[in-house]
Every structure is written in C-alpha cells, then in structure tokens.
Symmetry: C2
DNA sequence: TATTATATACAAACAGGAATGTATGTAAAG
DNA sequence: CTTTACATACATTCCTGTTTGTATATAATA
C-alpha cells in the first residue's frame, strides 16, 4: 500500500515532523537518528529521505512551525505599538505576558523552544540560526524602544533612563525569563511566577 | 617514549582537557569524537581512555575548571554582602561587572561558557547538570535579595518593589545578558555595551 | 471512456565509513 | 619486578546515504 494521494503524503510529512520534535526533545538533536524519527512516525527511513534531504532539513521544518507564526505576531505587535490610544507600558507588559501564555498553552511551541534552547548545538550549519535569532532580537529591541519613547512622551515613566536603555534592559530580562522558564521544567522556581515577574519588571518603570 | 613521571602524566591530562575544550567549541560536544580530542592533544585515544572513562567525564572536568572557582567567588560575594560598610547597590553592580570582566579577560572561561550555553545538549546524564545550574541560581537570587534588603533598610531604593522581586528581576536580566553576551560573538550588539547595561539596570533602582 | 505511460510515495536492501570500548603490547618509573 | 602511562590493534555496533523495487495515483492518449 504505497503511493498515497497528495493529501496523504502531506500528512506523512507532518507525521515525520511531529515525530522528529518528540525524538529531538527526548534525545537531543545530535543523538537523534533518522531511524528513531522514522519509527516514531511509523514509517521507514525511505519515507523520511523522500520528504527531507537530511536531519538538518527536518530541524528547519520544525523551527519554521514556531518562527513563521512568530514573525506574524511581531508584525501585529508593531501595528499595536503604532496605535497611540493604549498605554505603551501596558502594551509591552501584555506582549510579554502573551508569549508566556502561549508557552503555557501550546505544547508544540513549548517543546520547540526547549529543543532550540537546550537540546541543540549551534555549530556549522546551525551557527547561522544563531545569527538569525540575534537579528530578530535587534528589531525586537527597536520596537520596545519605540514603545518606551511613546511612554516617555506621555510622561508615564518613573526613570530618567533613555528609552533605548530601558528597552535593552527589558529585552535582556525577557530573554533571561524565557531561558529560565524553559529550564525550570517542574515549574517550581520560575514558571509559576513568570507573569508576576513581568508585571514587577514593568511596575518598576511606571510613574 | 611512554611512561612519563607523575607530573608529566598530570600535564597530559591537562593537555587533553584543554584540547577537549577547543574541540567541543569548534564541533559541539556531541559531534566531537575522542579521536578528535586525542589528536588535538597530540596523544592517542589510549591516553584519553587512561585518564578518563569517556567523553562525559571530560565534559565534567572542563566544567569544574569554571564552576569550582565560581563557587569560591560566590562565597566571597557572600562575605562582601555581609559587610555593611559598602553601598549594596554598588556591590551588586560590581559583582555583575566583575563577571563580565572575567569573560572579557579569561579566554578559557569564555570558551567554557560558550560550550555550556550553545554547544551542548542537555539530555540524559547532562540533564542533571541543568538542575545543578538551577539550584545555583536559587542561592544566587537569595544573595542578591539580601543585598537589596540592605539597600532598602538604608533607604537607597527608588522603588517600592520587594527585595525579592528586585533580585529576581536582576537575576533574569543578568542571565539574559550572559546569554546575549556569549551569542554575540562579534561583539557588535551586546558585548561592547555590557557594562553600561549593568549600570543602567542598577541606576533604575537607585534613589 | 478505456488504456497506457509516467511520475509519485514510499519500503527494503545494500555498502561504507566512523566511533566506541576493550584488549593487548611495551618501555620506563618506582 | 611490578605498576604506570600510554600506543596500537581489534571487534562491534551504529548511522548515513544511495540504490533498487514496487504499487498506485495521475496525466496523456487513443
């Protein structure tokens, strides 16, 4: 029973990607073999090699599942930031809280973040993934900076720091929070109070 | 020319550890083979297997090079914190700046941090390394909290947040900074302004 | 519409290197 | 003379990439 329809084929492809996510999470990217992935997906390596050139391609397929939607959300955030009707500090706070909520609710996203952060070695071809991430960071910082600039012009800020300094501080805080959130798998140290931490962080800036 | 003296043997051991650091950094821990490490150290796998049970043991040996001194420094920091003569906010700031300076000056430390953060997959036996790290984090937060409590009682704080909230925020900030510092290999985004970022972070709290 | 041809979506078998751990050899230190 | 500190050789397992086989969907053609 080979040669399925196009829809069937797309379904097997997705099965392979899902299986790879499970296997990567459990064994790490490097130690995961295509046989592990294939058997987890209930297919043979033949199917895997049909849909993907190698393990790296599967990795990127997984990554796109999170980061293509994420770029969309970034654009949303940009649109929101341009909206002057809302308190910019509330917007920054809501944006960060929203990401944490996503991680809480969306199993796949949570797993992918965990793979990217602590189940993957950024060498060779993966090294340039890091560059992409760093560039995303830069544009993200700029957006936060714009929001803080709005807050400043609306006289909402308690501090005399520049919007840029505030934005960088917030970005580093949130990066740290994401890392700790992911690493705190049992939730005893950071996950349970993540939202409070965000609110405290923003409260520190409110006049 | 085999069978060196004990001092020679200890020297080869150190050569292997240094070689492993280089190889891990270049190829990632998983894809590094004992042959890679051996030839980098100008010995054979026989020497490696004589000194270490397997790759994992070498990994831990590398880790100890950084984290045993680090624990010592933590105790120093604790001692300093108990000293009431100095401004606690200055102490926190100096402590973070000192770590960044270490990373700037100490090549080995920099490389080891990079290996631990982005050249290593935390699976199986490595998973419990993460637990150790998280526990270190907890005690570190507590120390920062004590310092903020001192600052509060000396009326040095601008905010009404609890010392605990401030400490967590600082810890997450610094965790994020370390990650970005390591990932920003060319220094164009974060490294060059790391010390300023720390000062801004603390300035935000000063009355 | 029925038939034929071709491309698709895999499964299964094959060939190769590569890495690990172990076992054995060996020369010098103690 | 024994143990140490390795080097060398060996056995085995594992993983990868490719090749071949094949049943069927789908397009082409008559």
């Amino acid at each position: 029973m080979v040669r399925k329809t196009k829809e069937d084929a797309e379904l097997t492809r997705q099965k392979i990607v899902d299986a790879a996510r499970t296997v990567f999470l459990a064994r790490g990217v490097s130690k995961s073999t295509l046989e592990h992935i294939a058997s987890q997906a209930d297919v043979t390596r033949g199917a895997v090699y049909w849909h993907f050139k190698n393990k790296t391609e599967i990795f990127h397929a997984i990554r796109e599942q999170v980061f293509l939607p994420l770029i969309d959300r970034m654009d949303d955030t940009l649109a929101i930031t341009a909206d002057n009707s809302q308190n910019p500090l509330d917007q920054i706070e809501a944006s960060m809280c929203h990401t944490i909520q996503e991680l809480n609710d969306n199993v796949e996203m949570r797993e992918i973040y965990e793979i990217m952060m602590i189940k993957c070695e950024y060498v060779d071809e993966f090294a340039l993934v890091l560059h992409q991430i760093m560039n995303n960071c830069s544009s993200l910082v700029e957006k936060i900076e714009v929001a803080y600039a709005h807050a400043q012009s609306q006289n909402l800020l308690a501090s005399t720091l520049t919007p840029r300094a505030l934005a960088l501080d917030t970005h580093l805080f949130f990066g740290g929070l994401l890392h700790m959130w992911v690493k705190d798998a049992d939730g005893s140290k950071f996950r349970y109070q993540a939202l409070e931490l965000i609110k405290s962080h923003i409260k520190l800036r409110r006049k």
